[in-house]
Each structure stands twice: as C-alpha cells, then as structure tokens.
C-alpha cells in the first residue's frame, strides 16, 4: 500500500521536533554547531545526515485573510519527496536504491558503493554522499518503523500535525479538503505542491507532497522538477549520431591516407 507524507506548512510552528526525532530515531550524527544568520534556520539544507530540515522564511507580505502586521512567517519541514519517478533511483548503477513495498525510495547501505550519481540525479538536492562514510544517504521514510506498523518518527513527533503520515490516497483527500477550507477562510494563495502527476509531470507526483502559500522558489523548491531520465532520449539520439561521426571520421582518415 503506497505510504507517504502530506506536509501542511500553514500549521508548522517551526519547533524542529521532526528534525530532532529523525536524528534520534535513526541515530544520525550531529552536523556541528553552526550559526547561519538565516532566520531561525541553523540547519541549512537536507543532506546525508540531515533527513528533515525546517526552513524559515520572513516574508514582508501578510498571509491572505489574516491580520499579521504586514508580515508572514513561513515555515516548512522539508524531507525527501519519494518521487514516483525518482531521479536518484533511476540513476543508481548498482541497484542500491530500490522502491519498497510501501512505494517509498530506499538506499541499501550494504550495496551503495558511493559513485555519487544519485546526488546529481535528484532535482530537489536531497540525497548526498557523506564524506566520512563514502556512501549516499537520505530519508528512508522510517522503513524500519513502517515494517513494524509504526508511523515515521517525524510525523509521530509533530505537535501540530503539520506532518501527516498515511496512505497516499487518504492524504490526497485530506490535502484537498484542507486547501478548500483555507480558500474559504481567505488564504487564497494555498495550493498543493507535487500532489500528483498532473500538477508535477516531471516527477509524476511525490509521495511526500506539500501545502504551500507562496511560490516554490521561496521554500527552496524547484518550480518544475523533472526526473533526468525523462529527457535522456534527445541526449542518446545525439550520442548515436555523434558516434556515427566517429565512425565516418575513422573511415575518412583511413581511406583518405591512400594516395
């Protein structure tokens, strides 16, 4: 049964409990103490040892239908999107990255040889190779917990249910109801990001999708992400023609040398 996350950014309070729960459950190491100067975000970005990341955006535009003194503070808990067409999985040459029985994307650490091709394949900049470890790591959607019928640590820890875990179809229904409710209340800018193939054809939909209230760029999300292999046909056609060019050049060189 396909499982995933629906992250509703309008109820995120930026507590970072998801980040802590993820680190603690998965026994991930810390990333050092760093002050970034980027609002309350001292995590920076997702990476090999950071599988949840809360972003903070201080926006000088009020939220629709709200009286917030001309400001709106947007917060979003970012995570691996577990794409239907996953660039990392399609690029992986060893078969280390697999799709699980829960329709999630999982990196098998005992197979990964650290070639780094998934890192450039991900249109969201999620997966990364760890320097000290040599292998690629990302959110597993708590594969170990799912197998025990438990919800992922981040969703469990989220105090406002900004992170909802469940079966994708149920999440779609809940998300659409939520958008309608917000529109009724005057938050006209609310929309779903990556909910299905029609709204995001490049990934054919995300198993971890979001409700946003501003352009994707504001949250550091790409406006039109695409699994790279979807564009490969043109590249292979050119490569075929160019290889023919090599053959012709070789023939020209050999035949032209007779004189």
């Amino acid at each position: 049964m396909p499982k995933g996350f629906f992250t509703d950014t309008t109820v995120c309070i930026g507590c970072k409990a998801c980040e802590v729960a993820c680190k603690q459950w998965n026994q991930l190491p810390d990333d050092g103490m760093q002050f970034t100067g980027m609002s309350y975000d001292n995590t920076g970005h997702l990476g090999g040892s950071t599988w949840r990341h809360v972003s903070f955006i201080e926006r000088p535009v009020p939220m629709g239908g709200a009286d917030t003194a001309g400001m709106a503070w947007l917060m979003m808990s970012d995570v691996c999107k577990h794409c239907q067409r996953a660039g990392c999985l399609e690029n992986c040459p060893t078969g280390a990255i697999i799709r699980t029985e829960f329709d999630t994307v999982y990196v098998q650490p005992d197979i990964c040889n650290g070639c780094g091709y998934c890192v450039v394949g991900c249109p969201f900049g999620v997966i990364d190779r760890l320097h000290d470890d040599g292998r690629a790591w990302k959110c597993t959607l708590c594969y170990d917990r799912l197998k025990e019928n438990m919800e992922p640590a981040c969703a469990k820890a989220c105090p406002t249910d900004s992170i909802l875990f469940g079966e994708i179809e149920d999440l779609h229904v809940k998300a659409r109801e939520r958008v309608e409710l917000l529109h009724e209340r005057g938050v006209k800018e609310a929309y779903l990001y990556g909910a299905d193939a029609s709204s995001q054809p490049g990934t054919e939909g995300l198993n971890a999708f979001f409700l946003l209230t501003d352009k994707p760029e504001v949250y550091n999300l790409p406006p039109d992400p695409i699994a790279p292999a979807k564009k490969a046909r043109e590249a292979w056609t050119s490569a075929g023609l160019a290889s023919l060019g090599l053959l012709i050049a070789a023939a020209g060189a050999v035949l032209g040398s007779r004189r």
Binding site: P29, F35, V120, E234, S238, G256
Partner: protein, 342 residues
C-alpha cells in the same frame, strides 16, 4: 560515545537506520560559529526569490579523476575505433598504426577503470557496478561498455603481434574494441546531461558532438606524439581535422543551447570554468589549424599533439567545473525551469 551521535553504549544500542554511518569523532566538529553567515536581514525578496541564496540542488561530489576519465576514456575509445577501421580497410601499410591504437585503447581502458574506482566513496565495492543493468542509468550502461571495451582492447593489444589463432583472436578483439569505442567516447556526455544540473541538462543535444569531437582530437593528438610513417601521419592528420571540426561545432552548439537562458550558460562565460572553456576553444582551434598544414615535420606534429591534448583536457575540465558552478547557483535552476513553464 563521542562520535557525534552522543549515545552512551552502556545504555543504548546502535541499531537505527543510520547507525552504521561512519562518522568523525565529535571533537573534530566545528563548535565555533562559522565565519560566513547570511549577510542580510533575513527577508525574502519578492521579485526574484531564493532561499537565502542557498543552492537548490547538490553539487556533484566527484573529484578531478572524473573529468580526467572523460578525457582518457574518450581518447581510448576513439583510438580503438580508428584502429579497427585501419585494421579492416588500411592494409599492411597501416598495421603499425593498428597496433599503436590498440595499445592506446588498452591503456585508456585500464586507466579509466583506475580513475573511476578512485573516485568511489567505497572503492572496494567497485564490482557492484556489474550487479545490475539499468537502462535508465547512463552510468550503468557505461560501466558495461567500459568492461567490454577494456577486455577487448586489452586482448587486442596483447595479441597484436601474434600470428595464427592468437592473431585472429586479437583481430576479433580489435573489431569488438572498435565497436565499443564508439559508445565509450560518447556516453559520458549523456551521463552528465542526465542530471539535475542546469548547464549539463540544457547541453544534452550538443554535448555528445563536443565530447566525441574532443575524443577524436585527443586520440589523434596522442598518436601525433609518436613517430609515424608518412601514410600513418596522413591518416592521423585527417582524423585530427575531422575531430577538431566536430569539437568546435559541438562547442558552438553547447554555447547556443546553454545560452538560451543566460543564467544557465553563465558558468561558461564567468569564473574559473569560463577561463578554462576559453582556453579550450583557443587550444582546440590552434590544434585544428596546425593539423590542416600538410607534410608536417616531426616537431610540428609534436606541437600539434600537445595542443590537441591540452585542448581536449580543457574541454572536459571546463564542462565539469561549469556543472559544479551551475549547481551552486539557485537562480540557474529556477530560471531554467521557469523558462520551460512559460
């Protein structure tokens, strides 16, 4: 206890999904604030938003050995194809050229494997590349191509001076090597463009021509460094001219494709990759012009060879580093995709 997880092994068991991540000891972590903090008031700019100018996508983690492989593998592949063609249609006059091409191919194949394994995060697991065949992954296809290429080029080189049965095996291997040399010289461009990196992705139609042209130039340049007989020198010169033309046309194509959205093509005009790219164009053009000179002296051929080699190396390193810079620039990703949507 002090490895950054802060788990006391007397009380906790390391059993989580990431528990076997190899990590540094915690005293190695930077506990002081970074020098570089975001320099402005953290407010989003409405017209051209980014998230604190942070990259959207990750840079390639690859090191110098990858662009070096792009050059070495390309040169080996193109040399092997020339060798196979000379074997079939060159007669005994070009037999020494065939042998030389086979050795360049075999050396290129071996060196390629070493460079690629060296770049792996877990080099001891290199053989996992041959665990599966995944058609959506150019790296998987390339691993198989390089394996077959290396084996056939190696056999062709070893048996290049044998007679009888072994000689026939060498000739068969020479043909196989020439066949696999064609995809080997070109697939690396697909490997790069099959990524989320804007400058690589946008160059997907033209980069194969640049890379194969560059591979031909590189192979001809290496051959030019060796003593050649008159007829061999003529063949190598023609090969160099055709490769140089393809290389320059490919470079123009890459500039045109990536220039459609200025922010995407920017790394080829600015900074370190921009400079290497300019050098590549000058060196390749110089090499092409010298290749066109008929009846070159030994010294002239050597200079042509050096120019061609440097030009081809610069092409690979420029494209590689342009990709690194492109990934670091969030606006390249945003504008590339917005242009696609509008």
């Amino acid at each position: 206890m002090s490895d950054g997880r802060f788990i006391d092994e007397e009380h906790g068991i390391l059993a989580g999904e990431a528990s076997h991540q190899r990590v540094r000891q915690s005293q190695d972590f930077p506990l002081t604030p970074r020098d570089e903090t975001y320099p402005h008031t953290p407010t989003v700019v409405e017209s051209d938003p980014t998230y604190y100018d942070k990259p959207v996508i990750k840079q390639a983690v690859w090191i110098w050995s990858v662009p070096a492989y792009l050059y070495v593998g390309g040169a080996g592949g193109a040399a092997m194809t020339l060798g196979a063609m000379a074997q079939v249609a060159g007669g005994w006059h070009l037999r020494p050229l065939v042998h030389r091409c086979r050795w360049i191919g075999a050396t290129g194949g071996a060196l390629s494997s070493i460079l690629l394994v060296y770049d792996l995060g877990r080099p001891e697991r290199f053989v996992y590349m041959l665990r599966v065949f995944r058609p959506t992954s150019p790296m998987s296809i390339g691993s198989w191509v390089l394996t077959f290429f290396g084996a056939s080029a190696g056999a062709a080189a070893v048996f290049s001076r044998s007679g009888g049965f072994l000689g026939a095996v060498g000739d068969m291997a020479g043909l196989a090597g020439g066949f696999f040399g064609m995809p080997l010289a070109g697939y690396t461009s697909v490997l790069l463009s099959n990524s989320a990196i804007p400058v690589w992705q946008e160059a997907r139609r033209s980069m194969p021509f640049l890379f194969i042209g560059s591979a031909i130039s590189a192979a001809a340049a290496i051959l030019n460094l060796f003593p050649l007989r008159k007829r061999e020198a003529r063949a190598v010169s023609t090969f160099a001219v055709l490769g140089g033309l393809l290389e320059i046309a490919g470079a123009a194509g890459v500039e045109r494709e990536t220039g459609a959205v200025p922010q995407v093509g920017r790394p080829l005009n600015h900074g370190v990759p921009g400079t290497i790219w300019k050098a590549a164009k000058i060196l390749s053009t110089g090499g092409l012009i010298l290749s066109m000179v008929p009846k070159k002296s030994r010294t002239m051929r050597r200079i042509t060879g050096v120019l061609g080699t440097l030009g081809s190396l610069c092409v690979r390193f420029a494209v590689f580093h342009a990709g690194k810079q492109s990934a670091a620039d969030p606006r390249a990703t945003f504008r590339q995709q917005r242009a696609r949507l509008s």
